[in-house]
């Protein structure tokens, strides 16, 4: 049975709460009875060696695992007091309110404008699209670089710019939580740094959960860190504790590079 880690939310409301969450891929128990609380307007990092289930766990939070036919989810994910996995909840609505940025930048083969406008359009948002696109691109620190070429293809942008475009796209539907699955792992160090700065800014308005295999990145940008190993939550706490004085031996072994 896994240990539940109660963290000090610091007076904030919980944005998301996983309760005894498990994911099965066929017979494999990929995520095992994980419980953790994500505080609002904070950055939570999920770290662990390859295959430990951190991406799978992340994808539970916006029901992306529904798209994989062999995946089965047990347990609850509470969002504003409602279980996201309750039968009456529409996953499409969940994904509008909990957005996701992926590992490799994946802009649509459309113009920059159409990329950002896609989300609002398919969700039937009645808004001034021009204003919304500008707002989203500004939030993603990309407006200054593309404002004069919104009709250019998204593929004309560099890797780092494309990833910020994907972030702008996600922000355009005005989610509350942004999930990021190794958002900078395909980028060069300068682009990575800009994404990290962006995350720090976004924290003011959004709650962010980020999966990263780069421990130093987790140490730099997150407020809380969860260490997963082989599907289990080994330790979860404030980032400075995890990296200076972790409670669990396995956590210590991982952050000091003795395995993983």
């Amino acid at each position: 049975m896994a240990t539940t880690y109660d963290i000090d939310l610091g007076g904030r409301d919980p944005a998301l709460e996983a309760v005894d969450l498990s994911v099965y891929y066929g017979e494999t128990h990929a995520v095992q009875n994980v419980s953790l609380t994500v505080p609002q307007n904070q950055v939570v990092a999920l770290i662990g060696p390859s295959g430990c289930g951190k991406s799978t766990l992340l994808r539970c939070f916006n029901r992306m695992n529904d798209l994989i036919s062999s995946a089965r989810v047990d347990g609850r994910v509470d969002f504003h007091g409602q279980n996201l996995y309750a039968p009456e909840i529409d996953p499409v609505e969940v994904r509008r309110r909990i957005g996701m940025v992926f590992q490799k930048p994946n802009p649509f083969p459309k113009s920059i404008f159409d990329n950002v406008a896609f989300g609002p359009r398919v969700n039937g948002m009645k808004v001034d699209l021009d204003a919304l696109v500008e707002e989203s691109l500004r939030s993603a620190a990309l407006w200054d670089e593309v404002s004069d070429r919104l009709n250019d293809s998204a593929y004309a942008l560099s890797g780092g710019q494309q990833q910020r475009l994907c972030i702008a796209r996600t922000l355009a539907v005005r989610p509350e939580i942004v999930l990021m699955d190794e958002p900078a792992s395909a980028l060069d160090p300068i682009a990575t740094q800009r994404i990290e700065e962006l995350i720090y800014e976004l924290k003011k308005d959004y709650t962010i959960v980020i999966v990263t295999h780069n421990m130093q990145q987790a140490a730099r940008i997150s407020d809380y860190t969860a260490f997963l190993y082989m599907g289990q939550l080994i330790e979860y706490g404030p980032t400075e504790t995890i990296f200076t004085n972790p409670r669990e031996e396995r956590t210590e072994a991982y952050v000091t590079g003795r395995f993983g």
């Binding site: 421990m215 130093q216 140490a219 990296f243 200076t244 004085n245 972790p246 956590t251 210590e252 072994a253 952050v255 000091t256 590079g257 003795r258 395995f259």
Partner: protein, 230 residues
Amino acid sequence: MTDEQKRRRRFHEELDALQECLLEMAGIVEQLIHRATPAVLERDGSAADEVMDRDDRVDELEVEVDERVIELLALQQPMASDLRQIVTTNKISNDLERMGDHAVNISKAARRMTDTQPLPEIRELAEMAEITQGMVSDALASYVSRSAGTARLVCLTDDKVDDLRRSMFRILVTHMLEDPKRIGGALELLLVSQNLERIADLATNISEDVVFLVEGRTIKHGAELPDAPE
């Protein structure tokens, strides 16, 4: 090397080398204190040169430790206990270097005392010397064995040394008032007692650092009231 240690081999080799420097420093400093303190009690002026020479080596090592620490921090991104060890090593090396300087002061005082009129034996001085030497040994032993319990004991002993220094002060003042010809010798002994007290304080610092290293929390400056040993 175990499987775990094969990873980050360079890092571990660097870390071991850092440890070696510190242990060498500790060894020398302990010896310096052992050489300088009896020199006072026995009015032996020959210790000074030897102690000063060997203290040069301590100073060299402190510089080397500083350089290695910076390099490890910048290049290897140490975390958790590795990080605490490196930071602690840096602090302890500073403390050891100052201990060395105090030992030099003591041995110089011993040499100057050979020209002064000897004073009657002061029990407190011998006691101070013994306790201080013990504290230094225990502090260094607690570092080597990573024992927080031993370290805490050292912290507790510091008060005694402070008390002894105050007693020494009163005794020496008395001696000076009794016989003005004793002033020279008494002043040297005063100096010696102050240096010994400083050495004891530094040993306490080292012990507090050891607790931080082992337990990950700081007990400095009364952050934690030292309670009964476990």
